[in-house]
């Protein structure tokens, strides 16, 4: 039965990585939709979220099935726990991407306005974080997973700057409040994606070492 179990684990990993790849594509698309005010791209990204939702449910069901039937221990147990957690984070990333897409469709002709550079920079870091976390997950490399952690601080700092900048602008131009909230929401969802990428990287550390490295700031 071990050979069969190993084969099923391999299939599950491939499936989880395919979903990760799909989510990464969607994030890429919504960022472009936001920067280029491309409504068609935004709608396409929103449509692809349904694929992610369906896949999330199937991967979760398969993981639970393997846990129940094979009662894994050691690295197999850590792998299945990691698949479940990463699965959840990926689905949440896709939800954040949908939020960004919806806001992108509302942007007025001034687009991201004065915050455009900071949002661009933020999106660039977030996409790099997501890619690194998914790659670390794919090759199960805790070391490269850890490289994601410091980038989350940079994203948080940019998000703080954007909030301050929007607050200042909103005081001067209260009539554009709706547009400012769209930009704020895009930044907020990018920041959430960075958090999920960090979670995935933390899960890779657990997968390889068994150490739970969450909540490092609290220690």
């Amino acid at each position: 039965m071990t050979a069969q179990f190993v084969r099923l684990l391999d299939e599950l990993q491939r499936r989880s990585l395919r979903m990760a790849s799909l989510v990464e594509d969607i994030v890429q698309e919504v960022c472009e939709a936001a920067f280029d005010a491309d409504e068609r791209l935004a709608r396409r990204a929103i449509g692809r979220d349904k694929e992610v939702d369906a896949e999330e449910v199937e991967i979760e069901a398969e993981t639970v099935r393997l846990m129940a039937l094979y009662q894994p221990v050691g690295s197999d147990l850590r792998f299945l726990c990691t698949v479940l957690k990463v699965n959840n984070d990926l689905e949440r990333v896709a939800d954040c991407a949908v939020n960004i897409a919806e806001r992108a469709m509302h942007l007025d002709k001034s687009g991201l306005g004065r915050q455009s550079d900071a949002v661009h920079q933020m999106a660039s870091i977030v996409r790099r974080m997501l890619r690194s976390a998914i790659q670390a997950y794919g090759v199960q490399d805790a070391q490269s997973g850890q490289s994601v952690f410091p980038e989350d601080d940079a994203v948080d700092a940019l998000y703080g700057q954007i909030i301050q900048s929007i607050v200042a602008d909103a005081v001067r131009q209260p009539d554009r409040m709706a547009a400012f909230l769209d930009v704020l929401s895009i930044a907020k969802n990018l920041e959430r994606i960075a958090d999920h990428a960090t979670n995935i990287a933390e899960d890779v550390v657990f997968l390889k070492t068994g150490e739970i490295v969450r909540h490092r700031g609290g220690e």
Binding site: M1, V73, G74, S75, R78, E211
Partner: protein, 285 residues
């Protein structure tokens, strides 16, 4: 070769009270961060041969008091040989010979001062297949105590032993019936009651559930969990889930050697040795 290993004893010491070399063990989980348990049985560089065949090679480990220690490993790894050495059951194998030390509370189990009959009163054993005597349920429990000159109230001893073995409620109205009329799981609990009646300190269990169905197995596992408040239990099992469920400490043996010995939580979630990892995940064995 000096065996260096984890033990449940002492956190940073270089040697145990018995002189066994240890390296600092990994950080323990917070909920198990209690004082180091007392050692009851200790093997120090123990080697056991059958003729020229080495069944157990240079093994050092300590068995903590009133906890459950599981010994796992593939067939032929020496786990039953090690267990049976602890109350000298290997004496019945003419070609068996022992090197190194095996101590029970400081007493050299294979030394001239150790009386094996006396030793087996302190270190009882439960075997793979239930083996009740062809006698009544009552006599199965009372027999060992009677021939060892027990002078207390025998009825009380029988009831207490059967209660501790979680069998009393099922047999209290048929104590004079043959033990053979019991189911396999009940017979195994009767054998545990029989061992308990001698008031041992240690119970050795060699695959105690391998002949039982899942329900009977579950009863025995619950019983083992209850027994550890009074007894030190050493359990040999092929069933890794069982080791994970019932034991506090797990020793993994392979080809006669002790590969890893650690907190059961560590062994089954993040073992330190690749061979342990491969075995528990079914990659070999």
């Amino acid at each position: 070769m000096v065996t260096t290993m984890e033990t449940p004893f002492g956190s940073d010491q270089a040697t145990t009270p018995l002189g066994v070399t240890v390296r600092p063990r990994p950080q323990r989980l917070k909920e198990t961060n209690s004082p180091p348990p007392e050692s009851v049985i200790a093997a120090d560089r123990l080697t056991i041969r059958y003729g020229t065949f080495i069944a157990v090679h240079d093994v050092s480990l300590e068995i903590p008091s009133r906890q459950v220690t599981a010994i796992i490993g593939p067939s032929g790894c020496g786990k039953s040989t090690l267990l049976r050495a602890m109350n000298r059951m290997n004496d019945f194998v003419p070609s068996a010979s022992v090197d190194g030390k095996l101590l029970y509370r400081g007493l050299d189990i294979y030394g001239p001062e150790c009386d094996p009959v006396e030793l087996r009163l302190r270190i009882g054993m439960v075997f793979q297949k239930p083996n009740p005597f062809p006698k009544s349920i009552y006599k199965n429990v009372a027999w060992g105590a009677a021939i060892n000159g027990y002078r207390g109230n025998m009825d009380e001893l029988v009831e207490r032993s059967l209660r501790q073995a979680a069998l009393w409620n099922e047999v209290k109205d048929k104590l004079q019936q043959s033990a053979y009329a019991l189911s396999g799981g009940q017979q195994q609990r009767l054998c545990i009651a029989r061992a308990i009646a001698l008031e041992p300190e240690v119970l050795l269990m060699d695959e105690p559930c391998s002949a039982l169905d899942p329900i009977a197995t579950s009863r025995i596992e619950d019983l083992i969990d209850e027994l550890k408040s009074r007894y030190t239990v050493v359990l040999v099992t092929h069933n890794m889930q069982q080791a994970a469920r019932v034991s506090d400490w797990t020793a993994f043996m392979y080809l006669g050697e002790l590969i890893e010995y650690d907190d059961t939580n560590v062994i089954f979630t993040r073992p330190n040795e690749q061979r342990t990892q491969d075995y528990i995940t079914g990659r070999f064995g």
